[in-house]
């Protein structure tokens, strides 16, 4: 998988069979008054065209920071990236010049944010903000850009797009605003879309519609999609594979349904167990004890150890790497990894 990377470095749009995006050993820290907060501590993941990667984690797990690092929209300082690579079509974006990076943003990799109301400029019309994509990256005129904006709004099924292109963000409903965000991300038909909690701010009834639209458009354009969420329900429906993050690390990766069926990390297990289930009515709901770690003082060893029911001495002394998860007979389970010394026990425990 990695051998093809270096040979295709020169031609960005040349046929390329590696992953679209390949994040390697990424570290991000924030310098604060109280000290250095280590938000991302060696994240590895990759996404291919047409594939959906769900990054699951609580806030503070580093999932959004990783996404912002990919987009190049971290405020630096206070943030800094001491180590790691973010390869887009084999090219390390962290080594690129500012202008080169800017051209990728929006055009090749686009992002959808959680709160569309605050993410859209309140004093510009949505048509203008959509059209801006074309004016910044292509030589479209104001008029052409506006026509394209109408087209895009139609594409994301905003009723009466032609009449509403001159409206301001606050004049739309929450679901419609998120559609506009999606339209904006789609504008230049990027290779990859990063959606950071795209439905969290929406009403439950609208969540499904927006998620379906996003999934449908992704399939249509054969884009890669990184879906960042803490909502297990969203993930189950649309993702191909899942990466679970905790304290800035990936603690488990797996194809989506295998993760649900048999988690191999106690944290994932805890997350799944804290879902209320209809067949366990009347029982007390499970909750992971304790609190997520303070990023200024991440516990030594496995960051999850103070909260882990399986923690042993080794977990307090050594940082577990992402172990390859295998079947009982030793055959590798493709795409499965767990950063737990006791992944086997966890796997078996969850099957019982």
């Amino acid at each position: 998988m990695t051998t093809a990377v270096d040979t295709t470095k020169s031609a960005r749009q040349a046929p390329y069979d590696g992953p679209l995006l390949d994040v390697r050993d990424l570290h991000v820290e924030f310098v604060t008054r109280e000290g250095v907060a280590r938000a991302v501590n060696g994240v590895n993941y990759s996404v291919s065209a047409g594939e959906t990667l769900a990054v699951l984690g609580e806030s503070g797990s580093g999932k959004s920071v990783t996404a912002q690092a990919i987009m190049g929209i971290l405020d630096m300082p206070p943030a800094r990236i001491p180590k790691g690579e973010i390869r887009y079509r084999g090219q390390d974006m962290l080594a690129m010049g500012k202008e080169e990076r800017r051209k990728i943003r929006g055009q090749k990799i686009a992002m959808i944010f959680q709160d569309a109301l605050s993410s859209l400029n309140p004093v510009l019309t949505v048509g203008f903000q959509l059209g801006e994509m074309f004016r910044a990256h292509t030589d479209a005129s104001r008029k052409e850009a506006k026509a394209k904006a109408v087209e895009l709004m139609d594409r994301v099924r905003i009723p009466a797009a032609k009449d509403r292109v001159g409206d301001y963000p606050h004049q739309f409903s929450g679901g419609m605003r998120q559609r506009i965000m999606i339209a904006m991300a789609l504008a230049l038909e990027p290779d990859l879309i990063i959606a950071d909690e795209p439905t969290t701010a929406l009403d439950v009834t609208v969540q499904a519609q927006v998620m379906d639209l996003l999934a449908e458009l992704q399939a249509e354009y054969h884009m890669g999609l990184i879906l960042i969420t803490h909502d297990l329900g969203v993930v189950a429906d649309v993702a191909d594979k899942i990466a679970v993050m905790y304290a800035g690390r990936i603690v488990e990766t797996a194809p989506v349904h295998e993760l649900y069926a048999s988690p191999a990390h106690p944290y994932t297990r805890g997350l799944l167990d804290s879902i209320p289930r209809l067949d366990q009515k009347g029982q007390e709901l499970y909750a992971i004890k304790g609190l997520p770690p303070n990023l200024l003082r991440i516990p030594p060893g496995c960051a999850f150890n103070p909260r882990c029911p399986r923690a042993q001495d080794i977990c307090r002394g050594e940082v577990p790497e992402l172990f390859q998860v295998t079947e009982d007979d030793g055959t590798e389970q493709p795409g499965r990894g767990s950063a737990c010394f006791f992944w086997k026990e966890t796997l078996h425990g969850s099957r019982s």
């Binding site: 449908e216 803490h230 879902i275 209809l278």
Partner: protein, 332 residues
């Protein structure tokens, strides 16, 4: 919810039903918000209190510490001026010509800063001048905070007609600039003391606090805990004093502190124009005004009271700035 996996050729697995997974999303969110606000459990309680947090922040700010020390010094100067100098600030001795330069060797002595046009010790007058400025500043601020705070609170809390009337009255006072209004008002009195200046500034200045308070109360009123208090049947008085006031008072304190410096400057300006304080009251504004006559030959006669005045105003503005920064998490 249509299953899009069918479209992408993905074989649906036996998996937890979609229905209760959606539920899980909701549930997960609640847990998250509860546990993640403050990662360190030891600090949780303290962080809950805005003031506790602000105080921890303020203690480490040099600007805050400097301004507090300056203000304490000025207040002590205002109460016990004789502790700083043995010289009578009103004693005029024309032997002490203003052309005699400040004598740097005369530490804390009568001639330290030189003598003014009437042969009075500038140092002593700078020390004794603090009283008028500090009195005016603190008393006006106390009065406007009371008056403005109360009216702003009533307007914000009751809304409707009460708000409409109070807001229009506020607008009326706002149309008249503070200095201009004070000039007209004080111009009518032939004998003016510190108290007439205090009253004039308070009468014209309360609207600023009223507006701030009204805005703060309107915001706090929407908060869930106020709604909860109301739902639990708390009386109007209790609701105002226990729930709304403590949470609305922060912006008022900030504005009042900065305004305090402003009132001191306005008093000095009025006195400078001859429509504020009058002799024999000792005021930096009057001293600066009388120093005009000798500014060419002896600029230090004006320099020392002007510096004292500027430092005093600066101290209060810096204090207000520091408190605002500490109270406003957005700016951190």
């Amino acid at each position: 919810m249509p299953d899009i996996h069918d479209e992408s050729g993905f074989e649906p697995h036996p998996k937890p039903g979609v229905d209760h997974l959606d539920y899980a999303g909701e549930q997960g969110r609640v847990v998250e918000e509860d546990t993640l606000i403050e990662p360190d459990p030891a600090k949780r309680e303290e962080a809950r209190s805005l003031w506790g947090h602000a105080w921890r922040d303020l203690r480490t700010r040099p600007i805050f510490l400097i301004s507090v020390v300056l203000i304490l010094l000025l207040v002590i100067m205002a109460i016990f001026p004789w502790a700083f100098t043995d010289t009578n600030p009103r004693a005029s001795d024309l032997v002490n010509d203003y052309l005699r330069r400040p004598d740097w060797t005369d530490f804390f002595g009568a001639g330290w800063f030189g003598y003014d046009g009437q042969g009075r010790s500038i140092y002593a007058r700078v020390i004794y001048g603090a009283r008028a400025s500090i009195t005016v500043g603190i008393c006006v601020t106390a009065l406007v905070t009371l008056l403005g705070g109360l009216t702003g609170m009533l307007a914000g809390y009751f809304g409707g007609a009460v708000d409409a009337v109070i807001s229009r009255i506020t607008d009326i006072f706002f149309g008249i600039p503070l200095l201009l209004g004070a000039l007209v008002l004080l111009g009518a009195f032939s004998a003016r003391t510190v108290w007439s200046v205090v009253i004039a500034l308070a009468v014209l200045g309360w609207t600023q606090i009223a507006r701030v308070m009204r805005g703060a109360v309107l915001t706090v009123k929407q908060a869930d805990y106020v709604m909860a208090g109301k739902a639990l049947g708390a009386g109007t008085g209790r609701l105002m004093m226990r729930h709304i006031l403590p949470n609305a008072v922060a912006p008022v304190i900030v504005v009042a502190t900065i305004a305090l410096g402003g009132y001191i400057a306005v008093e000095a300006t009025l006195s400078f124009l001859g429509i504020g304080l009058q002799e024999p009251t000792i005021s930096w504004g009057i001293d600066i005004s009388s120093a005009q006559k000798v500014i060419r030959t002896a600029p230090y006669v004006m320099f020392f009271p002007a510096a004292a005045l500027s430092i005093t105003v600066l101290a209060f503005i810096m204090l207000g700035d520091a408190v605002r920064d500490a109270l406003d998490p957005k700016l951190r």
